[in-house]
Each structure stands twice: as C-alpha cells, then as structure tokens.
Amino acid sequence: MEKLTFRHATKKPLAGAKAQAITGVVASGNLEVLLERALPPDACTVEIETPINGYGDVWEAVVADFVARAQPGGIRITINDGGARPDTVSLRLLQGARLMEV
C-alpha cells in the first residue's frame, strides 16, 4: 500500500453546506472518496491509500486538475483506492464535490 498526501491552496470555499459526503466503493478499478468540510476555506487536502505503487505523479496531476476545476476550499478529502484508473478518480472526485454542494 502506498500513502500519498496532497495539500492545495484554494481561492474559495466549496459551495453548499453539507458537512460530509461519500461516493464510490472500494472494489477493483474503483475507489471511495470521503469529503469532509473540516479545513479553513483556503485549503484542501487529499489523502490517498492505494494498493498500486508508483503512480504518485499521475495522482498529483489528477488532484491538481480537480482542485483547479472544483475549487474545493475547506474540504478534507480521503480516498481508499481499489486500483482505479485516473478517469474514474476524476469522476468520483467531481461526484463527491457535487454531493457536497447540495
């Protein structure tokens, strides 16, 4: 298992008031994403546990794109990965953000 942590400064807090949301399932090629409104509005962290080692730079790119796109200020994101492909990771992150915005 490889553990990765990314911290990003964000320009604005994520919309909505929901305190937490979870999406996805830990299964082969899938992942679960837990989002919690637990940080100052100018910060976002993403912690990942993945069984596939050596893809740190891909995760970094996926997370950076997501943060740039969703501006998830104030959100602590924790991921249990089951070996998902990057596009699935992006999709789950966006789904999670949308769930928090309601």
Partner: protein, 548 residues
C-alpha cells in the same frame, strides 16, 4: 494435352485415394485421419476453416492426429487461428508455413511460437486481403470446412454462420482443389443450399456439433460510466455532426454502449432516422433495443452470433435471411460492404502512437486484426458521394482544386486512455515495431495507419485529426485527449487550448455534455436479461451470460 491438366489429374488421384475411406461422399468421423492422410500431400496449401466464429473442429482434431511422416510441411492459409489444434500441427511438424488474419484466443501462444521459430510466417492479413490471395497466389489445394448439415450429394447448409465458407470453396473447388466438409448431421434434404454439392468432395459426419464462439456478446452489466461518457461524445460529436447513417462497429464495450444509447440518449437528441440506419455488423445482441425501437433499417452480417438465431428469423425486414428463414452471413461480402458502402468505422485498439498509428499487437500477443484494417481504411476506389463522406473530405482538404475533391471515410478510434491494469493506451512507440524488429518482419503489424484515422474519442474528449494541418498539430491533438497517460501529461497545454478553440480538440463540456450525467440509467438495457425482454424472448443468450 495432358501437360495442361496435371493439377486436375492430381486432384482426381487425391479424390480417388480418399474414396477408399468413404461411402460415396460420406465419411465417418472415425475415418477422418485416414481420409486426410489419403488426400493430403506434403507441402500442400490447406485452408482449415477457422473463421471468426465457426470452427471445423472435428477436421482440426483429425489433422492434428495425422502421421507427420506422411503429412508434413503444410502451408496453412486460413483466416482464424482459434483452436489449440491450429497451432498443435505446427509443433508436430504437420504444418510449417502460415498465412492468417486473426488469432484472438491463441494470440499469446502464436507469439511464443513465432519467437521460437516453429512457425514460418507469411503475413498477418486483413480478411479481404487473405480472401483475395486465395484467388491469386494462396489458392488452397485442400479446404477443410464446416457446416450444419449436408445431404449425401454434398449439398451443404452452413447455418447462419456462413462466414468464410463460400469464398474458401470458390477458390478451392474451381482451381483443382479438394473440399472436405464436416457437418453436424447428414440429412435427406438440407434447409437451403449454401454450397452446391458438386463443389464438395467429401462430407464428414462430425462426432459433435462444430464449435462457435460467442464473440460479439457484450454484457451491458459490465458497461462503465466512462464507456457511456465516450459513447455520448461519439453520438453527439461525430454521429450527429456528420449525419452517419451507414456504418460498422467494432466489438468493444465503447461501441456496444453507443448501440445501447441509441433508443435513449440519441432518441432524446432527435437523431432517430438521421443516424445509424444501415449497418455492416454481426448481429450484436446490444443492437436489439435499437432494432426494436425502429432505429435500424437493415443489417448485413459477417457471421452470426450465438443465441440470436430465433430473433433474426423473426426480423427478416432487418436481416438478410434465406428462404428457410435463417440468417445468411458472408464475411467477404460484408467486408466489402464495410469497406465501400459504409461512411464510418468505429472501433477500439490497444495502442495508439503520437501520429495516430494503432495496433492490437503487443510484444507478448500477436492477435491479428481480422477485418479492422479493411473497415478502418479510406477506400480510394470509392466513387459514390454521400453527405457524410463529402463533409469529411472538405474538412481534410488542404490544397488543390475543390472541384476535384473526393470524400473521406470516417475512421474513428474509441479508446479509454488506460487499459487493464493501468496500461496506457497512448504510447510514444508501438510495441508492434519492436515485435517486427525481433521477428525480422518486413512490414510492422499496424492495424490502422495514421493517415486513415480521422477521429480519436477518449473519456477526455474527441480529437478531429482531419482538421489538423501539420504533424505538430496532430501530435498535440492526440496528446490533448490522452488523459493522464505520460503522453497526455506531456502535452503543450497552450497549444491544446488553441486546438480546442478551433474545434480540433473537443471536451465533453464543448459538446454540451456533463460527465456526471454519464450514468448507467441511460442504457436501454442494463443486463443480458433486459436484452431478452427487448427481444420479446426471442434472444437466447449462452449459459455463461445468464444470471437467472
């Protein structure tokens, strides 16, 4: 002039030798080895019918049991290397040379045997190309074919999986060759005559029905959101845009998703009757909802599909069927139709390089390409216009007199940026080149050449290569849809944004598609059972696809 009839005399001698093991034309399954040893000569060119689906498996077992001292150094000329016996005969010394098209299930073993020098490889052809060579320089001396039934005169009913049989028999029977057919049963009267009896020399009643692989069944239950998203983009960004009515689909999940979105997503876009009406396609079970919803005018088939027979019988307005009611497929004609009469081919691949060359060959698997290179190429012999073809031609036109412009066939690759086990689809260099180097092949096994590809669809977007004006634009357009692969991350972001402004790279949002809407609820059928319901109970799926 006996000097002009040596082949004919040799043929007569073979047949006479074979008659010793037959009653008339009929041969018992137990006598197959004797028959084959009697009619085969060392060095013969042999077509052991291995189609995409139908397999002359009884004859394959018989050939693999022949005595290599009597039958050896055969040159196998057949489209499919599918059964273990197809390669066993090379290990045993019965066969030596090979010219073929497709080897899906045996792709890994064939690679090992090529590396080991057990097979002398001619070429990995496309179907049409191999069929063409049957009539020029690869004419079989002996054809070992398969059908459902025959009468004692040899009149053959192939069943719905006619596939390669007429082509193989045409080339063999009319050029002094010997044709042996295995059938599931010998009957007094066949339901319809697919091959007239005077082209068949021996009929073997097989010990069990020939094997057919359900190659075109894609279980909707396994379809992912990513594949649905790609299908939405293809429908909106390509099918609708170019008004594609005449087309061929590959066998992947991405194209199966398109089939399942026609009666739902595409219907909501108002595209019914405007796209996807005329098909060159195997009878994909996933096309059933579109057929039942009135989307499909007609379908011509390369072969059939396990479980679709009853459904096809009840839909003769859509499918090509015989007087007996069952499907008549024909690989050579359908390949020709796909090449000349379709405006779009869309399929998948394992690797795409920075120019757009693609291949399913990897260093450990030589699967062959089947029909994809025919379908996935721009036929320069085409002379009839269509709006789709002309629009693509205009997009590609760079220089020259517009009055002399010709159209372009749309050749679309629909791929996820990563395959199984996070293997990237986009690569700097195809594995096929390394394979060619190691095996000293003169021609690298490329499936679709870059100059034939017009679009690449991934979950990240669509790259329209027709609109690229130089190699650099082309490379960045490809990188621009290559997602998080190394190729994708190596993009020039500013240039990709400029290409996006010109519509060369289009993201889901550029097409008005919200990726989060790519949901399985859009599928017209979510399971094989749903397909059965759509068919009114006429589709009878193979046991391995059932969960009821």
């Amino acid at each position: 002039m006996s000097g002009w009839r040596r082949e004919r005399a040799a043929r007569d001698a073979r047949i006479e030798a074979g008659r010793a093991h037959a009653a008339g034309k009929v041969v018992a399954a137990a006598s197959v080895v004797d028959l084959l040893e009697a009619i085969l000569r060392p060095g013969d060119r042999v077509c052991l019918e291995g189609d995409n689906q139908k397999q002359a498996d009884c004859l394959a077992r018989g050939l693999s049991q022949c005595d290599p001292a009597r039958v050896h150094d055969l040159h196998m000329v057949q489209s499919g290397i599918v059964l273990p016996e197809h390669l066993d005969i090379f290990e045993q010394g019965i066969a030596k040379r090979l010219d073929y098209s497709y080897s899906g299930p045996q792709g890994a073993r064939i690679a090992r045997m090529l590396y080991g020098g057990q097979i002398a490889l001619g070429a990995v052809h496309t179907y049409l190309e191999l069929f063409a060579r049957y009539f020029i320089d690869l004419t079989p001396n002996v054809a070992l074919i398969a059908g459902v039934s025959a009468d004692r005169e040899g009149n053959l009913y192939t069943g719905p999986n006619t596939e390669d049989t007429p082509t193989v028999v045409e080339a063999t029977a009319f050029k002094n060759g010997v044709v042996v057919a295995q059938v599931n049963e010998i009957v007094d009267r066949v339901p319809r005559v697919d091959i007239p009896g005077d082209r068949i020399d021996f009929v073997v009643e097989a010990d069990k029905p020939f094997y057919v692989e359900p190659l075109f069944t894609r279980d909707p239950a396994a379809m992912t959101e990513t594949q649905i998203l790609m299908a939405m983009m293809a429908i909106k960004g390509i099918y609708a845009e170019y008004g594609i009515r005449r087309l061929n689909h590959g066998i992947g999940f991405g194209t199966a998703a398109i089939e399942l979105l026609l009666p739902t997503y595409a219907e909501r876009l108002g595209l019914k009757g405007k796209i996807a009406t005329h098909w060159a396609l195997n009878p994909h079970p996933t096309l059933i909802p579109a057929i039942e919803s009135g989307w499909v005018s007609q379908v011509h088939c390369f072969g059939s599909e396990v479980g679709m027979d009853r459904y096809i019988r009840e839909r003769p307005d859509v499918f090509f069927t015989g007087a007996d009611g069952s499907l008549r497929s024909n690989r050579a004609f359908c390949q020709t139709a796909g090449l000349y009469a379709c405006d779009l081919f869309i399929g998948s691949t394992l690797q795409i390089d920075l120019s757009g060359h693609s291949s399913t060959v990897t260093q450990s698997r030589v699967a062959g390409f089947g029909g994809a290179p025919n379908m996935g190429s721009d036929p320069h012999g085409r002379r009839h216009p269509s709006d789709t073809w002309m629009k693509a031609g205009r997009e590609a036109l760079v220089t020259g007199d517009p009055a002399l412009m010709r159209g372009r066939k749309l050749v679309v690759q629909i791929v996820e940026t990563f395959g199984e086990k996070l293997v990237p689809t986009f690569v700097e260099k195809l594995d096929a080149l390394e394979l060619a180097r190691k095996l000293k092949l003169e021609l690298a096994p490329v499936m679709v050449y870059a100059d034939d590809v017009t679009h690449i669809v991934t979950e990240e977007g669509i790259a329209n290569l027709l609109l690229c004006r130089d190699a650099d634009e082309r490379e960045q357009a490809i990188r621009g849809v290559a997602g998080y692969t190394e190729v994708g991350r190596g993009r020039d972001r500013a240039m990709v944004e400029r290409l996006r402004a010109r519509g060369i790279v289009r993201r889901p949002e550029d097409l008005g598609i919200e990726p989060l809407d790519a949901d399985r609820s859009l599928l017209a059928a979510k399971s094989i059972k749903d397909l059965v319901h759509w068919s009114g109970g006429l589709y009878e799926p193979p046991a391995k696809f059932r969960n009821w």
